[in-house]
């Protein structure tokens, strides 16, 4: 796809997102809002998996920490201030990622996958076993954060439509921000680490610091997604940090084709779409989900993202491989 066509496609997709609440029902608007949040979550993981080559299986930890932060920052009888709760939640997620990153980035390959999973599980137990986060029941968020600036309130997150557009703006902002990051010298170093870390080291880059910065940044953005998720649904549970959440977001990244930010959003649509479809059919929808995943790995090496290229090649008579 040439770049002008790609830009046109992105603008059309954005226009569709903006117009959606005008045509879609309230139920579907909330579903799309959920998918967009998961799209932010998937983009943040893609920074690690797709661009830096770090397969983290514990990304839900940062999502969950920020979700808990907004719940704990909301007083019992009135809303928290958005301009305070949001930065604090994101900061909390970033700090968690920074601390965990110091440990997990000492490992590589299979170890890294296992250790990220183990630390996320540790974070899960912090909220599951202790009382301050409401234990396994979680916490209800009685008030959505207030966007008041002095006496003026530009928008109201308790209003579903306002919240929806707030999420759309957040998605676009994260996409733009990550695009800039990846074009910057910092982003180039990350991609260099993915293709050959030793070479980057011998070029004089302290790769550990770059990886730690990427890990922290990805944690912060996952935190933004967790914050929005908690605000959208009005409650938090330890399940937000569970390893199924980490597995799901990894699936989204892979479905969308790693190293492709728009793909990560598409992956969120694809995964949630499949889940919704299967769970409409049967209570045991995970069986179908598992079957699809296993079949995809066995029969579609390269994932869904490789499909258009494969089809094009078949159409063109497979004269070259893509």
């Amino acid at each position: 796809m040439n770049s002008r066509l790609a830009t046109l496609f992105k603008l059309l997709a954005l226009a569709a997102l903006v117009a959606f609440p005008l045509v879609g029902s309230e139920f579907y608007t909330e579903l799309v809002a959920k998918i967009l949040i998961l799209g932010i979550f998937a983009m943040s993981l893609d920074l690690l998996v797709g661009f830096t080559g770090l397969v983290s299986f514990g990304h839900a930890a940062y999502f969950g920490v920020a979700a808990y932060a907004v719940a704990l920052l909301t007083p019992a009888d009135n809303p928290a201030l958005l301009w305070i709760a949001l930065p604090l939640a994101v900061l909390g997620a970033a700090l968690t990622a920074l601390v965990i990153g110091v440990f997990v980035l000492r490992t590589k390959g299979i170890y890294f996958i296992m250790v990220t999973l183990a630390f996320a599980q540790m974070a899960y137990y912090v909220f599951h076993d202790t009382k301050f986060g409401g234990g396994s029941d979680g916490i209800y968020l009685d008030f959505k954060p207030s966007a008041a600036i002095g006496g003026f309130t530009p928008f109201d997150l308790a209003e579903p439509l306002h919240l929806y557009y707030f999420i759309v703006v957040a998605l676009v902002a994260v996409y733009a921000f990550l695009t800039l990051v990846l074009r910057s010298p910092f982003g180039r170093v990350l991609v260099g680490i993915r293709s050959n870390e030793h070479r980057m080291q011998s070029l004089g880059y302290a790769t550990f610091r770059y990886k730690l910065a990427a890990f922290t940044l990805a944690g912060a953005l996952a935190g933004l997604a967790g914050f929005l998720y908690a605000v959208l649904f009005g409650f938090v549970t330890p399940e937000y940090l569970s390893w199924h959440k980490s597995g799901d977001v990894l699936l989204m990244v892979i479905l969308g084709g790693m190293g492709n930010l728009v793909g990560a959003i598409a992956g969120a649509f694809a995964l949630v779409g499949l889940q919704e479809m299967f769970s409409d059919w049967t209570k045991h929808w995970q069986l179908l989900m598992g079957g699809v995943i296993v079949a995809a790995v066995l029969f579609l090496p390269g994932g869904l993202a490789a499909m258009p290229g494969r089809l094009m090649n078949r159409i063109k008579g497979a004269t070259h491989h893509g």
Binding site: V126, H284, L287, I293
Partner: protein, 288 residues
């Protein structure tokens, strides 16, 4: 804590650690030899426990169940390797993670379809249902001691299998250099199949042994899986000896953590892992 309750905790820690070793040893062998990360390994533990529940309700005897269940699990492992895992050796870790994650979903739903989502108890075999009195009001169940002895015997057996037999020699060689082993004319495909099936059988056996004390419940596989990961990380990938030491360390950390710091019980094992990562990121017993 007086001496008797200390002794009880000590025995519990030993029993828990040794049981974890059964699960982790298969995991570390499959990692070390085939280079495969298998998230579904915890599911084999879960399937073993449910098999124990289903078969004991049919046969009425856990010992008979184990005698039937272990060969079944071995055959199941061999089948699974032939059907799915054999296609994963040349794939990257991410694809291995994906496929085995999909398998977890499938196994959990099949379990839910076949047995439902309720918690079930499994009776301790009558032969081992007694308790040994330790003081006036404290006693220790014989069955837990039997578990420890069985696991210990298996650990010794595994040691001999790997260090002293021809199969073990091939396993050790295979973990060092796959291509060279193949070049020497050893059938690496069947070697892999045997090792994988052995790992499945060990995990399932651990589940069957644990069923009477932990009862069987949905999700029991994932908690064991993650603890096993911690053990493999601490012990070093591919090291059975490392897995044994690490499993015992985790058994002690978890058991005494629950007694001494009940609020932080769930965190203890991860704190141990964090400490080991700072000290030796490649695990305590990682060779080379």
């Amino acid at each position: 804590m007086d001496f008797t309750s200390f002794l009880i905790q000590l025995l519990n820690a030993l029993q828990y650690g040794l049981l974890l070793f059964l699960v982790a040893s298969g995991l570390t062998l499959v990692f070390g030899i085939m280079g495969i990360i298998n998230l579904a390994h915890g599911s084999f533990y879960m399937l073993g426990a449910y098999l124990a529940f289903v078969l004991t309700s049919l046969t009425g005897n856990l010992l008979l169940t184990i005698a039937l269940g272990v060969p079944l699990a071995f055959a199941f492992g061999a089948l699974l390797e032939w059907l799915l895992f054999a296609h994963l050796y040349k794939r990257n870790h991410l694809e291995q993670v994906l496929l085995t994650y999909g398998l977890i979903l499938i196994f959990e739903e099949l379990r839910s379809l076949a047995v439902g989502d309720d918690v079930h108890g499994v009776a301790i075999p009558a032969l081992f249902s007694a308790s040994i009195p330790l003081s006036d009001n404290l006693s220790y169940p014989v069955y837990r001691i039997v578990i420890s002895v069985v696991c210990l015997a298996l650990a010794v057996g595994l040691y001999f299998l790997i260090q002293r037999t021809r199969l073990g020699m091939m396993i050790r060689a295979g973990s060092h250099d796959r291509d060279m082993v193949q070049a020497l004319g050893i059938d690496i495909d069947s070697l892999y199949r045997v090792v994988f099936a052995l790992g499945v059988a060990l995990a399932a056996l651990a589940g069957m042994l644990a069923a009477p004390i932990s009862s069987v419940y949905p999700g029991m596989g994932s908690s064991v899986l993650i603890i096993s990961f911690v053990i493999v990380v601490i012990g070093g990938i591919g090291s059975v000896w490392g897995a044994l030491v690490a499993a015992l360390v985790i058994g002690f950390a978890d058991t005494f953590g629950k007694v001494l710091l009940p609020d932080l019980a769930g965190l203890m094992v991860y704190l141990v892992m964090a400490a080991v990562l700072l000290w030796r990121p490649e695990g305590i017993f990682r060779k080379g």
